[in-house]
């Protein structure tokens, strides 16, 4: 149980940065993993933030779901690891 085993956070930690992109809350959004088909709340994704951007991985199969990087006034968003993301008005 070394700390390196748990070097991730969860989707909640990306919600602030993603609020620049999405008008609706992303933590409660349900996404389907393009690799294993698991449907989970974005809050449950494993989030890695040590790199230059953030990477969200599927909590079931660890496939990359989403990548987000900000450079100045630009945001690069890669969501090809999700077959869909369902956002609901709260």
């Amino acid at each position: 149980m070394s700390s390196d085993t748990y070097n991730y956070l969860d989707g909640n930690a990306a919600a602030g940065e993603l609020s620049r992109v999405f008008a609706m809350d992303v933590t409660a959004a349900q996404g389907r993993c393009a690799n294993c088909g698991a449907i989970r709340r974005f809050a449950e994704a494993h989030l890695y933030i040590r790199g230059p951007g953030v990477v969200a991985r599927c909590p079931e199969c660890q496939h990359v779901l989403l990548r987000l990087a900000s450079f100045g006034e630009s945001v690069f968003l890669d969501v090809k690891g999700l077959t869909y993301l369902r956002l609901d008005a709260t």
Partner: protein
């Protein structure tokens, strides 16, 4: 969208933790469990963003409290716990998050499990429940290093004394009060089984703490028969300088 928050009150919680109250004129209101991003910008333009859970109950005063633990190598937490003064202004973004939240309309039993500073969003839920006059049964399992590291200690004690439907179990990891029945140690399956609602009640569980703590607590909850879809988690850790 960044809003300006002005520090209006400061309160020490422990030797290393402090609660900061902000007045945010255009604050849209929050729900218990949500967090806020704080941005600090140095004179040379360098800026750092950190996420902090909101500790206060939703209110109409456009005020929010956060509680910050000073991390030895922290970039932001030493400033917030030692240097910031009433009248100072910070940039805040939020409220953020709609998943790890408790709303007063929820009437089912609630199980809260906190690891260290993971108590903060759960405290907002406890305060929200009290403010709304909710009678939803609440239990808190609070894992903390030692008695003097407990945050909101007097308030929590007062709430349990006044309210038979709110109960707390403390789990100490390093040092216990005198004659404490359980030796210091991490939470385990046995403690979680005994200190939490029976899974037959269909409670909703909220777990917040460092990632390793959250993974353990959530697995003990499922081992006790709780359905994974009734367990909501929020993780923070050395990767994030979070909370």
């Amino acid at each position: 969208m960044w809003r300006i928050g002005t520090v209006v009150a400061l309160q020490s919680e422990t030797a290393t933790a402090r609660t900061i109250r902000f007045q945010v004129p255009d604050w849209p209101g929050h729900v218990a469990g949500q967090h806020v991003d704080a941005r600090l910008t140095a004179a040379d333009g360098y800026s750092a963003v950190r996420s902090y859970s909101i500790a206060s109950a939703p209110n109409t005063n456009r005020q929010i409290d956060i509680t910050v633990e000073r991390l030895p190598d922290g970039e932001v937490s030493p400033y917030l716990t030692k240097e910031v003064m009433v009248g100072d202004q910070l940039e805040l973004r939020g409220p953020i998050g709609g998943w790890f939240v408790w709303r007063p309309e929820q009437t089912e039993p609630i199980q809260l499990i906190a690891g260290g500073s993971g108590i903060v969003p759960l405290m907002s839920m406890i305060r929200s429940r009290a403010a709304a006059g909710s009678t939803a049964p609440f239990r808190l399992l609070y894992s903390v290093r030692e008695p003097k590291a407990v945050w909101y200690s007097n308030e929590l004690q007062g709430l349990t004394e006044q309210d038979p439907s709110f109960g707390i179990t403390y789990a100490y990891t390093r040092a216990t009060p005198k004659d404490w029945p359980r030796p210091p140690g991490r939470i385990d399956a046995d403690l979680v089984a005994k200190a939490t609602w029976p899974s037959s009640l269909g409670s909703t569980c909220y777990v917040c703490g460092p990632t390793s703590f959250v993974e353990s607590a959530a697995s003990f909850l499922t081992a006790s028969g709780n359905s994974p879809d009734r367990i909501r988690t929020e993780r923070f850790g050395p990767t994030g300088d979070r909370k």
